[in-house]
Amino acid sequence: MNKLTFHYFHLMPWPYLPADFDEKYDSAWVTLPNSIYDPIKGNALYNRYLDEIERADRLGWDSVIVNEHHQNAYGTMPSPNLMAAALTQRVKRAKIGIVGNALPLHDDPLRVAEEIAMLDVLSGGRIISGFVRGTGMEYFSYNINPTISRERMDEAHDLIIQAWTRPGPFAFEGEHYNYRYVNIWPRPIQQPPPIWLPGTASMETIDFAAKHKYPYMTVFMPMNQRQRAYDIYRQLAEEKYGYEAQPEQLAFCVPCYIAENDDIAMREAEQYIMWLFDKGLKVRPQFFVPPGYMSERSLKGMLEGGGFGQKRRFKELIETGVIIVGSVDTVIEKLSYYTDVLHAGMLVTGGHVGEIPDYLVLKTQELMAKEVMPHFRDKSVATQTDQPVVTLP
């Protein structure tokens, strides 16, 4: 079995921020004026991003992944299911992940169930369905009450799983969602499509993932926090839910940049990767944690861990394991720490950050696919980069 699977993650950022962005705007989210977005440039950008994802498929990545964010420059996919639909026509082999749909933001989660089912049928059963709560910022953008976010998440999850797997019609009677007739057409091929849960280490999300045996994905976190999250997941799995967590349940989303050697990689990557942290993730602190969005326990952990609002430099991001930058050998060594020490088995990373030119994205994609991936692949199973991962009868 492969020690590590590779998942190509795209945020589809809007990199063209004005020169005075740092001084003039306190947030790339919620309130950044949308006059900054140019739809004509946006057309070229969307197509370039789709080309890039299509290339990842041809290069042998196990899946390609899109996600949902609203009213911001960090990621311009308010409807990730639309992007996934486009990808079903371009990506011929890899799985297609939507990681994820932000369930509590939607007043009608049945629509999410329907769209994922459509995508699963359209793609021949290749859909990975991530569920997220959405960032704090999204609760401002969609004006959804953050105090009921987790309840809506849990309930929408239950509804969607039932909609996919239970013969309809049936009634669903929840606190937040009510349907007299749940009876989706079409139904998904997969029963159900695999679910992933990304998180930023709140206990509640880890517990939810461990309970359902869903892969838990740590996002942009320092290594010590990732380790803690995996330890908690494994412990919950074993002690509370009675099973042993496997590496394919532990995913890590890490921006990676690979070049000919460490020096070149460091030199080339800094400005682009720092766009992500200094600009894309520039957020008014109040938007980040709206009231009731986190439990007091999780907020206390965050406040005491100092993991809030601190600005980190490039080298520090590398040293703490938030990002991976270096030569092929360096990247293999760092990924081996995940596989061999943390026993985490899914790498989620993309090449595109900030205004990075496409040839540098291609370089990281190719070095990852041709030099890094083989190191982690099971030698007994030949990787078929031209064959679909799912074969329909």
């Binding site: 009450n145 008014r284 109040q286 009231p291 009731g292 007091e296």
Partner: protein, 270 residues
């Protein structure tokens, strides 16, 4: 009356502080003033529970003042099921029963003003007279109230006070995690009630049901709930009078306690 005169009066009041069981909700409450005077229930705004200040003292000179911490604020915990304004109205009804008050004056500020107005709509027979100060609750199209949820503590203070020195009673002894969590908990209560919408669209139609004499007193420079809200409440509530207080904003009872109390006392003694 000048505020220094008010301070002289204020020192003499003895208050009682206790915890009442209001249908299972352990309610922290201050009480002061002579039981021979008219009862007055004071409903505070967000972040303003567990306080006994000069304005309470002045009011207690002439009234039997009850100042509870509304659930989710101050020292009164909010049970998780308590999420809707209707839960708070039922709670206030229970509170009056627990206090043995058949009928009372209600003075409400900000979110507490919203609760006071709602209560007067649903239980007019329990309200003697009503005072709304810089109260939330209604919608005034084109003039949304400030978004407290998007503001930093400093921005909230700057927008609330004209005179920051008056904010001293709100300064924590220590700026630590417990303080931040307590602020978060209170803001969560506010969000539970008023994240979306930040008003009750039915109030506009229902306010005419208020039949008790009503005073609307507004700090003129209110930057959180602009004075057009006071004017609109005045228009919608029969038998209401509107007094705008100069030189103060959202927190007139902090900044101009003597004037604010004197306006209220004059109205209540009519």
């Amino acid at each position: 009356m000048k505020s220094d005169e008010a301070s002289d009066i204020a020192v003499s009041v003895d208050k009682v502080e206790r915890t009442l069981n209001v249908r299972g909700i352990q309610t922290h409450i201050f009480e002061a003033g002579s039981p021979a005077t008219a009862p007055l229930l004071y409903l505070h705004g967000t972040f303003l529970g567990n306080l006994w200040l000069e304005f309470h003292n002045i009011l207690a000179q002439n009234f039997h003042v009850f100042a509870p911490d509304i659930p989710g604020f101050g020292l009164t915990e909010r049970p998780n099921w308590m999420r809707d304004m209707s839960d708070y109205i039922l709670y206030l009804h229970d509170l009056l029963d627990t206090l043995g008050l058949r009928k009372t004056i209600i003075v409400g500020h900000s979110i507490g003003g919203w609760m006071a107005a709602e209560f007067a709509i649903w239980y007019p027979e329990r309200v003697d007279k009503l005072v709304l100060s810089n109260a939330a609750g209604i919608r005034v199209k084109g003039s949304p109230i400030a978004n407290l949820f998007a503001m930093s503590p400093q921005e909230i203070a700057m927008a609330s006070f004209d005179n920051l020195a008056a904010a001293m009673p709100l300064m924590p002894k220590e700026f630590n995690t417990d303080y931040l969590l307590s602020q978060y908990r209170q803001l969560t209560t506010l969000a539970t009630l008023a994240w979306n919408p930040t008003y009750d669209p039915t109030l506009e139609r229902r306010l005419e049901r208020i039949n008790s004499p009503t005073l609307i007193v507004w700090g003129q420079n209110d930057r959180l709930i602009p004075q057009v809200y006071g004017e609109t409440l005045h228009r919608l509530i029969d038998h209401s009078e509107l007094i705008q207080l100069e030189g103060t904003g959202h927190m007139p009872m902090f900044e101009k306690p003597a004037e604010w109390c004197s306006i209220i006392r004059e109205f209540l003694h009519k």
